[in-house]
């Protein structure tokens, strides 16, 4: 009796397992039948964080509106083996053939690990440095020249600062962050070469209490315009404004958080970029492996100028923005030294906006108080 039960139980279990396998095998097929393309978006934090993830999620929302496209999303995915599991499950269970793992740390080693196993799936990564001789062909990299936005932020900051000290709350010393810090200072120095920028690294993309402490420490040292490069700028904006400092936004429009103190902000504009890429795939084309764009390409945009921006600031802001819109603008031009005294660019030398050398930046320019390690 007991043995029979066991055997029946065993048979039941195997039958159920078989059915589950069958269903699992059929599901991607059904998903594919329902739409022409399934696109997966993966975020490192919540997708309504007033910041990096929200900017990407707004792009995903635009893709969702397209006919024949199914969007699958997962948020709060750490930059660990977790993201590999998420990618695998989006590919195997949802039938996704185009993935946007959006966080910087997803690229190496996680995307590079998963991509070779799925040659039919396209992996699009934000900010990664893809190169043809090192990386798989089904991986692509895209990013925007948002440093230009921080340069424009810096111009408004240069006019608004009375103490000639501005502050930057930064997450990690990676090239994109360093470029933003340097651009912010150089923008301010285009107004007044005496200005210095104090940077504080928090070490993580999202650490609310430490970001608040960093902002307070900057205010204590007399920084009266503060911006940041962390995933969710909400805490920095609110804390800085509460201390009476002006703020420049990042990632998304944060005007609502500090309407009186908000000068302007450098925002992503992923909706146009993402719908364009998805349309290319729907039309049977292939996305370039290395895509970059700036203000003129609609990759980034600036927040509306706040009430504290003076007319002089507005004029220089608009004039510089018009120059950048023409393309080929150089924020980093000689004579330029880093803050340890090494020459970055000799007199007459310049790195234009699109120069690939800027994407491996590992220095802070003269005038930035801080260190990369």
């Amino acid at each position: 009796m007991k043995r029979e039960l066991t055997r029946r139980h065993f048979l039941n279990t195997t039958a159920a397992m078989g059915a589950a396998t069958l269903a699992g095998a059929m599901m991607p097929g059904q998903a594919r039948a329902a739409s022409d393309l399934t696109v997966g978006f993966i975020y490192v934090g919540p997708k309504d964080d007033f910041g990096y993830n929200q900017a990407h999620a707004e792009g995903a929302a635009a893709v969702k509106e397209m006919a024949g496209v199914t969007v699958v999303e997962e948020e709060n995915v750490p930059e660990t083996v977790d993201v590999q599991n998420t990618m695998e499950s989006m590919i195997n269970f949802d039938g996704a053939t185009l993935l946007f793992p959006t966080s910087f740390g997803y690229f190496d080693p996680h995307i590079l690990e998963v991509a070779p196993k799925h040659p039919d799936v396209r992996f699009q990564h934000a900010a990664g440095l893809w190169s043809a001789d090192k990386h798989p062909m089904n991986v692509g990299s895209y990013f925007g020249y948002i440093g230009m936005g921080q340069y424009l932020n810096g111009i408004t900051a240069g006019y608004a600062s009375k103490t000639k000290k501005i502050g930057f709350v930064a997450a990690k010393p990676i090239p994109q962050v360093l470029q933003n810090i340097n651009s912010f200072l150089l923008g301010a120095r285009s107004v007044d070469p005496e200005i210095t920028c104090q940077v504080i690294f928090t070490g993580e993309w999202s650490l609310a209490v430490k970001e608040a402490e960093a902002t307070n420490a900057l205010a204590d040292q007399g920084c009266d315009v503060i911006t940041c490069h962390v995933d969710g700028p909400k805490v920095v904006m609110e804390t800085a404004a509460a201390r009476g400092a002006y703020v420049c936004g990042y990632h998304a429009d944060q005007t609502a958080l500090a309407p009186e103190k908000y000068l302007t902000g450098a925002e992503w504009n992923w909706a146009g970029v993402y719908t364009g890429m998805v349309q290319t795939v729907l039309d049977g084309g292939s996305i370039d492996n290395f895509v970059r764009g700036g203000l003129s390409d609609g990759f980034i945009k600036m927040s509306p100028l706040g009430p504290a921006v003076s007319d002089a600031a507005r004029n220089q802001f608009e004039a510089t923005k018009a120059e950048i819109m023409k393309g080929g603008y150089s924020v980093f031009k000689g004579p330029l030294k880093d803050n340890a005294g090494n020459v970055i660019a000799a007199d007459g030398e310049a790195f234009v906006e699109t120069d690939i050398a800027l994407e491996s930046m590992n220095y802070l320019v003269e005038g930035v108080l801080g260190s990369t390690s």
Binding site: G203, L207, A214, A219, D220
Partner: protein, 309 residues
């Protein structure tokens, strides 16, 4: 702001004092709550979950009603529910309070993330602060001495708890239940009821700590708001040798040490900041090693705790 004084290197001690006041309150409330629970003979490791859920529910209610104090009350009520749940399950035979605590921690965080989705964007009203820096002309000092009422309430509470344990019948009941289940039964107390109520009260305190995070400092709700502060606070109780007044000092120490990293960077000590960020933990380890002794290990630990049994 235009009158900001150039305080230079003085920014570091000022940041430590300011940080101690700003950052310590959640540590203080959670460790007082855990102290109360552990003195009754149970360990509730779920307070990290209660803290995060308190932060979310406090923010949501403050946003919905426009009153931050109602938010604090809601967070406390949520904490009571989590505490009652923990206390109720733990009275069954063979149930391990540490395992239940871990389960409740994950449950609390999961529920908070789930229900908290719509509240990441909105801006809720903040708790008011009391400007205790009026005597100084320096804006930085005034900013550092913006003291939230909850911090003062927490300080008073630490003394009150200490007094209660020593001098009142209720305190005696909690201590008896914590030191010996049999002794508690012998004097006619139901140890499960004592522990249930203590865990509920401890949960309420942890919920209030969460409300401080989302409603005052840093003052907004998001999923990374706690970054493990609830767990550290549980550890602080051991560090404080189950004494509420020591919990207060331990919380201050931890808050101040956490401000060290950003403050040192702001005055130009910029290399090795990852090491300075580890300061609170290094300090805790060092103090534990210095104050440890092979003869009187776990001095002050309640006898009926599952880790000391």
């Amino acid at each position: 702001m235009s009158t900001a004084a150039d305080i230079g290197i003085w920014g570091v001690p000022l940041a430590i004092i300011g940080g101690a006041i700003r950052v310590s309150t959640p540590f203080l409330f959670v460790s007082l709550g855990e102290c109360l629970t552990e003195r009754s003979g149970r360990i509730n490791l779920g307070l990290e979950g209660t803290l995060v859920f308190g932060a979310m529910s406090g923010y949501a209610v403050a946003y919905g009603t426009g009153s931050p104090w109602l938010g604090v009350l809601a967070a406390a009520m949520a904490g009571v529910l989590f505490g009652l749940f923990h206390g109720w399950i733990c009275k069954f035979k063979g149930v391990n309070d540490i395992a239940i605590g871990i389960a409740l921690m994950l449950l609390g965080m999961g529920l908070a993330f789930f229900f908290g989705k719509p509240y990441i964007q909105p801006v809720a009203p903040d708790l008011p602060a009391i400007p205790l820096g009026w005597w100084s002309d320096i804006p930085q000092v005034q900013a550092a001495l913006q003291v939230n009422a909850l911090f003062l309430i927490g300080a008073v509470l630490a003394v009150a708890l200490h007094w209660m344990f020593k001098n009142t019948r209720v305190g005696l009941a909690i201590r008896v239940a914590g030191d010996s289940t049999d002794a508690a039964r012998a004097i006619g107390l139901n140890p499960d009821t004592v522990r249930l109520l203590s865990t509920a009260a401890g949960g309420a305190l942890a919920g209030v700590g969460g409300a401080y995070l989302s409603l005052y400092y840093p003052g907004s709700w998001n999923e990374g708001i706690s970054s493990g502060q609830g767990l550290m606070a549980v550890a602080l109780v051991i560090f404080a040798r189950w004494n509420p007044i020591n919990c207060f000092w331990a919380a201050l120490l931890f808050g101040g040490a956490g401000a060290l990293g950003p403050a040192l960077q702001s005055v130009g000590v910029t290399s090795g900041y990852y090491l300075f960020f580890a300061a609170p933990y290094v300090l805790t380890l060092a103090l534990l090693i210095i104050t440890s002794s092979p003869d009187k290990a776990m001095e002050g630990a309640p006898g009926a705790l599952s880790i000391t049994k």
